[in-house]
């Protein structure tokens, strides 16, 4: 087997690590801080090898004090550095959300444009597997709610590398929502060369189709593609949009798709109430009303704290069969 016949693949974990390493090589003001990022090589091994290459000045283990080190990161960004702050999971970012929103996101505005905050907050978001309610929450809508932040969420290795590099270079605070279950998954490798980045704010059509639009991000894109395969067997042609960026939203791509398919289902692992799907529904309703043949449907986690028991957990988190059913419902084809 040669490289011509088989495209090279890498894991999302490697893509994220490569993104950080490349940007740290290019810009001496970029550094990584967080719990277990250095000596432990990353709680999920995302920062593997970075301490060896860049040393303890630029790969900093912090105490388990999220509010504190998030604030230190913000201060360092005000002071002219470009920190990458890793949360072991975004569940712990709730301890630090004041620094992310009140300090990082709002200060540019409150200072009349003087105080930019070039910082990336990154880490795994959403549910992993059997870790219970406190360690399984999706924070997409929490952060996407706030002006002054950019919020991105990659699906595959290309997204992970291209978007993380863009986030590190961005002069604004960027919340970068990864997914633990995707870390080990292999995908087509991103184009080589350290200048490859993906623009923040642009969605990607993973699969074109004409009957219904599925809009998802992160791990839900994979389930959407599975569901699309399944539905194709029944003659239903599904378009799958990978949002990539949750703020800003690529409304142009979304609207163009809905104008074509007239039917839309949104997907997320977060709670239904005031979620990303709610925003998508509202935007589509406001702008694409005359092109809708059915109400936009949302596939989300159930409106409960995530249970531990395996059977209940399966019921609470949406997967492809639920998407297949939602597509049939939205097409009046139940």
């Amino acid at each position: 087997m040669t490289s011509e016949t088989m495209p090279e693949t890498i894991t999302v974990r490697e893509a994220l690590r490569d993104a950080m390493a490349e940007e740290m090589r290019q810009n001496p003001n970029v550094f990584l801080m967080g719990e277990e990022v250095a000596e432990y090589q990353g709680a999920y091994k995302v920062s593997q090898g970075l301490l060896e290459e860049f040393g303890s000045k630029r790969v900093i283990d912090t105490p388990i004090t999220e509010a504190g080190f998030a604030g230190v990161g913000v201060g360092a960004a005000f002071g002219g550095l470009s920190p990458i702050v890793e949360f072991m999971t975004f569940n712990f970012s709730m301890q630090a959300i004041d620094q992310i929103i009140n300090s990082a996101a709002k200060t540019l505005y409150m200072s009349g444009g003087q105080m930019g905050c070039p910082i990336v907050f990154r880490g795994p978001n959403g549910s992993a597997a059997r870790v219970g309610a406190q360690h399984s929450q999706c924070f997409a809508s929490w952060y996407a709610h706030c002006p002054g932040l950019k919020v991105v969420s990659p699906y595959n290795a290309i997204d992970a590398k291209g978007l993380l590099k863009a986030a590190i270079r961005d002069p604004n605070p960027v919340v970068f929502l990864e997914n633990e279950l995707l870390y080990g998954q292999r995908f087509e490798a991103p184009p080589s060369g350290s200048d490859f980045i993906l623009p923040i704010g642009k969605a990607h059509i993973e699969r074109p189709g004409k009957d219904v639009t599925l809009i998802g991000f992160s791990i839900m894109v994979g389930y959407a593609l599975e569901a699309a395969e399944e539905l194709a067997k029944e003659g239903i042609d599904v378009e799958v949009i990978n949002l990539r960026s949750l703020r800003p939203l690529d409304l142009e791509t979304i609207f163009e798709s809905v104008r074509k398919t007239n039917h839309c289902v949104t997907l997320e692992e977060g709670f239904p109430y005031a979620g990303i799907g709610s925003e998508l529904s509202a935007q589509i309703m406001e702008h694409m009303f005359d092109f809708l043949d059915a109400p936009v449907l949302r596939v989300t986690a159930k409106d409960v704290p995530l249970p531990y028991a395996a059977n209940l957990e399966r019921l609470a988190i949406p997967r492809s069969p639920e998407i297949v059913q939602a597509v049939k419902n939205v097409l009046y084809n139940a």
Binding site: A67, G73, V74, G75, F78, N102, S111, G113
Partner: protein, 329 residues
Amino acid sequence: MSPKNLKNSPHSPSLENLYKAYESMYLIRRFEEKAGQLYGMGLIAGFCHLYIGQEAVVVGLQQAVTESDSIITSYRDHGHMLACDMSPGGVMAELTGRSGGYSKGKGGSMHMFSREKKFYGGHGIVGAQVPIGTGLALAHQYKNDNGICFTYMGDGGSNQGQMFEAFNMAALWKLPVLYIIENNLYAMGTSLDRHAAVTDLSTRGSAQGIPGKSVDGMDYLAMREAALEAASYVRSGKGPFILEAKTYRYRGHSMSDPAKYRSKEEVEDVKSHHDPLSILEAEILRQGGDKDHLESITKDVKKKIDEAVEFAKESPEPSEGELFTDILV
């Protein structure tokens, strides 16, 4: 407490320095009096926390600030900005919500910044500026620019969890940060002995091994001396230091505070016996200073503040187009 023991200090300031400090402190005093007046006239709204009574703290500390240092504080920030040499008109115009304000009218009393003067705010969330100041110190260390960060907080903020988190990292990484706890005895309306289990706030960093010192925050000379010592400790690379400045605010917590939690007599006693401007004036005269010169200073300051007020009234409101600017870079 008393400046007596400073007579022999190698850092003894010149009379010129004292005049300058007096001017600086009176500028703050006069500015805040006018701000209070404008608030009453409805020209300033929302939250407005006055610094009257605490002037010696920031002016004393400022004596230790060099060009590479950075400064950050909480929401009682007007005095710090003026001490950093930010223009009174720009600060006042921000209070009146005008385009000539430091944040184009979009920040208000608690949210003003000047990158030029290395003043990093002005933060409205109690204690949030402590990790940020610690991060600014991290940037000084990272860039090896000889700067240190002056991170101010109040006695109220000194109970915040994130302050202890920041202390821990600062001590652990030996960050060049000088923490100043301006202890004005009241966290909003709750007196020190009702909100802090240990009322000696200079020991706030004892668990992290951060040395601290209490100083009379009403006495400019004492403040100056302590600031120079503490800053030199921090600048030497030994890590953070804590200065507790024992001070007092004459006005309520904010403009809407009737200050029912303390007696009039208490306030009057401080005003007549511990007023920082009176103490400094006495020291100037004791050193042979000129009363007429002090009067000409106050006259000039009054004029300067009147001009600031005029500017803040005349400056137009921000254009409506400003609503959607400065959200992202």
